[in-house]
Symmetry: C2
Subunit: 122 residues, 2 copies
């Protein structure tokens, strides 16, 4: 038998992260070429020093959607008798990544402008 007790901290205790999961996945894949789901959760935890924890319930459906949309290709591997699904960017996925990153930069500028107008002079 199995037993599972979970503690769900997820997305930084702030709902600002809502809507950024896709951007995060695409950017990580742009930098690391080929990653599997669990690896993404660990990498995000590491890069954010524990601030951001991607939950499985958000990650896997998101990966499936990106694949269905043609932004990711999947390749199944078996390592130590355990399943791994490696994802990588398609050509279209690479384009979408550029676009998503531009959106993020734009979001940040807009929000800083809204929230702290004195510091933005350009």
């Amino acid at each position: 038998m199995y037993k599972k007790i979970c503690i769900y901290l997820s997305m930084g205790n702030s709902n600002l992260y809502k809507g950024s999961l896709t951007t995060i996945i695409l950017k990580l894949l742009e930098e690391h070429d080929k990653m599997y789901g669990y690896e993404i959760t660990q990498k995000v935890k590491e890069l954010t020093q524990g601030e951001l924890k991607i939950t499985e319930g958000a990650l896997y459906p998101s990966l499936h959607k990106l694949e269905a949309d043609g932004l990711l290709d999947v390749e199944v591997a078996k390592v130590d008798n355990r399943l791994r699904k490696y994802y990588k960017l398609t050509e279209q996925g690479t384009k979408e990544t550029v676009s998503k990153l531009a959106e993020l930069e734009n979001y940040i500028k807009t929000m800083q402008n809204l929230v702290n107008p004195k510091l933005i002079l350009e």
Copy 2:
């Protein structure tokens, strides 16, 4: 009779804005003391040069929730025979604003760190 044809552009054509509406409302009220709903939509449009358009369907329920949560007080006024509901921060709302702004700063730092790790050295 009336007729209404709407063009819904809303939240910057990017779902990164999901989750930031509350922060935006609170910050505007911190700066402008007292505002009504329609005024908020216009102010946001103006401050973001049209990039961000708050829809009524998002704004009004959000204002009602903030009021129900004790973060905003409301005061009804009649100007030119037209109804206006002025909202202002409660004491608790002022505290929450500080907290929400800190969350935003933190979100921006975390995302920049994730997305462009080379530029962050601190």
